[in-house]
């Protein structure tokens, strides 16, 4: 059982707070992605778990064992580095067996296990070669094989795919996912690539400024962002966020008015909470580009009678293959809509989009916190 428990961990570099009171619990065999922009503290958190950085305060446990005062070698974990860190003066075989040798495994076991791990990563043909004769992708495989060979309780990966070219990255991504599923290793995976995190991870911890903004399964991160930052950071293109100008009640329905063309209807259950937040510090409303659907050209000006539509003009049209990305403009407010390929639309058309009121996300403008019923 290799759970990871991070409790109230902080890390300061001088006066800079790299990590602020981090809590995170990863279950056994779970794949957790630490996702965030550069400088958000995700690599520092990973290195703190590894023991390469000393936490300023807090506790870290792996399984039942508290590890934050142990040397890296006693923590029973392995790490894959961004720059691979393959030992240049050793052959691939020596690289893979390095951990087993230092741990004093039996010779026959080392030979057999090295072979097996190499086969797992499809590098059995280059075992006798030196790293400088290998491609970047092969080096990455060696570095993963070296980490897996010691059968660690916990595997830490620091942006392992970021140095590979796009095609190779895609290939390695699915291969790595299958491999880690099979090896049943608890994994912490640092990445700034949200697609990588979404596609591989069981859970994602979105980090910003040394804090975990949200921790949960990918769908939850995507569809129910708990914080404005998560809404802006996740999704490509990210969520559209509008600043609510006024709240207006028409025919017993309350609308969050953005401008003459755009107003979002507020669900009855949220009405009081949003009113409170609006009075206190303002409110943002968000909707994902693909959650807005094209309803045809706008034949008349927006009225509050058609509750779940908004109107605007088409500024740009980008064909992205299977999808079409529209940038729309309404009185200096820009937002994006993702539509299926084949939509009949022209530049500067005035068009109507529909939305589902229950798909809207509401955030306090100053706090950034999600507003819930």
């Amino acid at each position: 059982m290799a759970t990871i428990h991070i409790e109230d961990v902080s890390k300061n570099f001088g006066t800079f707070h790299a990590l602020k009171n981090i809590f995170l619990s990863a279950e056994d065999k779970e794949f957790t992605a630490l996702l965030g922009p550069s400088g958000s503290g995700k690599t520092t958190l990973l290195r703190t778990v590894a023991g390469l950085e000393q936490a300023s305060s807090g506790r870290i446990s792996i399984g039942a064992m508290r590890v934050d005062n142990l040397a890296p070698k006693d923590r029973h974990l392995a790490m894959v580095f961004q720059n691979y860190a393959v030992f240049p003066h050793m052959t691939v075989a020596d690289n893979i067996s390095f951990g087993l040798k230092t741990k004093g495994a039996l010779k026959e076991y080392i030979a057999e296990h090295t072979q097996r791990t190499a086969a797992l990563l499809h590098i059995e043909d280059v075992l006798h070669k030196y790293p400088n004769k290998l491609s970047g992708g092969q080096r990455q495989r060696v570095s993963v094989a070296r980490a897996l060979a010691v059968q660690p309780q916990v595997l830490l990966m620091d942006e392992p795919l970021s140095n590979l070219d796009a095609l190779l990255r895609l290939e390695m991504r699915s291969e790595l996912k299958a491999l880690l599923k099979k090896s049943e290793t608890t994994t912490l995976y640092v990445t700034h690539d949200q697609i990588e995190a979404m596609s591989m991870a069981d859970k994602i911890a979105v980090m910003n400024n040394g804090e975990i903004m949200q921790y949960g399964p990918p769908e939850e991160i995507y569809f129910k962002p708990k914080h404005e930052f998560v809404a802006r950071f996740i999704g490509s293109p990210p969520m559209n966020l509008f600043t609510v100008q006024t709240l207006k009640t028409v025919n017993k329905k309350t609308f969050a008015v953005i401008n003459n063309d755009i107003a979002f209807v507020i669900e009855a259950s949220l009405k009081t909470k949003i009113q409170e937040n609006f009075d206190a510090c303002g409110v943002l409303v968000g909707i994902r580009p693909e959650q807005l659907s094209f309803k045809g050209s706008a034949s008349h000006a927006k009225t509050f009678a058609d509750a779940s539509t908004i109107q605007s003009e088409v500024l740009t049209i980008e064909q992205l293959g299977s999808n079409t990305l529209l940038v729309l403009k309404s009185n200096e407010i820009l937002f994006r809509v993702m539509e299926k390929y084949g939509i009949k639309i022209d530049l500067n058309d005035r068009v109507t989009f529909g939305y589902q009121p229950n798909q809207l996300s509401w955030f306090g403008k100053d706090s950034g916190m999600h507003i819930e019923a």
Binding site: L52, K73, A85, P88, G99, R146
Partner: protein
């Protein structure tokens, strides 16, 4: 433009010849026998090989002893310059400690005072310690001269090795010391060897301290400096041969590493 090129090449050739010609004559004359040394005009090539000058040189009393001392002193200097210099270099490269920048400069202080000024106090101190006129006195001074190079060159070297390599080794079950010997040292070995040879050359070439601090137990340089002025020309030539050629030979072996250590790209 063309004139400039001619000027550069002309100067280049002039300086090369001014260094290379004496060395060339040194080699040719030292294997051509006594008669060739005194003959006029001088010969430009070896007519018939004659080792008699070397034979004579080694038969002179004190030469073999001095040569043995030189090798011993230089070897011990290497042992201390590497043995003390490598840990210091590693500390400078990988750790942040109080006074690190001052320490880096302080290392160079040993080279800031000319040996001529230090000679008298050192002599007094060594007499008090009872190691005056032993090779240890010379070894201590030579180590002090070689250490700054050893430390600064190696710390640059260690710094150029990605930290992740060591970190990977730590995570794979190595202590910091094991990681140093299994990862850092093998990767840096060629350059550490070059540093060692460089320390050897510093000691082999050093004459002043060796001459002041010893009377009987002289190194080859110190021995020759006291002998050469009152020796015949052919003895001077063989003596110079043994001072110059080993140094050149070693420098030649490690030139590639010395260039890269000093930041000159070797194209």
């Amino acid at each position: 433009m063309r004139k400039k090129a001619i000027l550069y090449y002309g100067l280049g050739i002039f300086f090369c010849l001014s260094v290379l010609l004496p060395i060339y004559f040194l080699i040719v004359l030292s294997v051509s026998g006594r008669d060739a040394v005194y003959a006029w005009p001088k010969i430009f090539y070896v007519a018939n090989l004659d080792w008699s000058m070397f034979r004579f040189f080694f038969e002179v009393e004190g030469v073999t002893r001095a040569m043995f001392n030189s090798v011993l002193v230089a070897s011990l200097t290497v042992v201390f310059a590497i043995g003390l210099g490598t840990p210091a270099a590693y500390a400078l490269a990988r750790y942040n400690f109080f006074g690190k920048n001052f320490y880096r400069i302080a290392i160079l202080f040993t080279r800031a005072f000319p040996v001529a000024i230090l000679a008298l106090p050192l002599t007094v101190r060594f007499i008090n310690l009872g190691i005056y006129d032993t090779i240890w006195a010379v070894v201590i001074v030579h180590t002090a001269l070689a250490l700054p190079f050893s430390i600064l060159i190696q710390s640059n070297l260690f710094q150029s090795v990605p930290k992740e390599l060591e970190e990977a080794a730590w995570l794979l079950g190595c202590t910091k010391l094991q990681a140093f010997f299994k990862i850092m040292l093998p990767i840096c070995m060629p350059s550490v060897a070059a540093t060692a040879i460089f320390a050897f050359i510093i000691s082999w070439n050093e004459v002043f301290a060796a001459a002041v601090l010893t009377v009987k137990n002289r190194t080859l340089t110190a021995f020759l400096i006291s002998q050469i002025s009152e020796s015949p020309l052919f003895f001077q030539i063989t003596g110079s041969f043994f001072l110059v050629i080993p140094t050149l030979f070693f420098i030649f072996i490690v030139r590639k590493y010395l260039f890269s250590l000093w930041g000159i790209t070797n194209k």
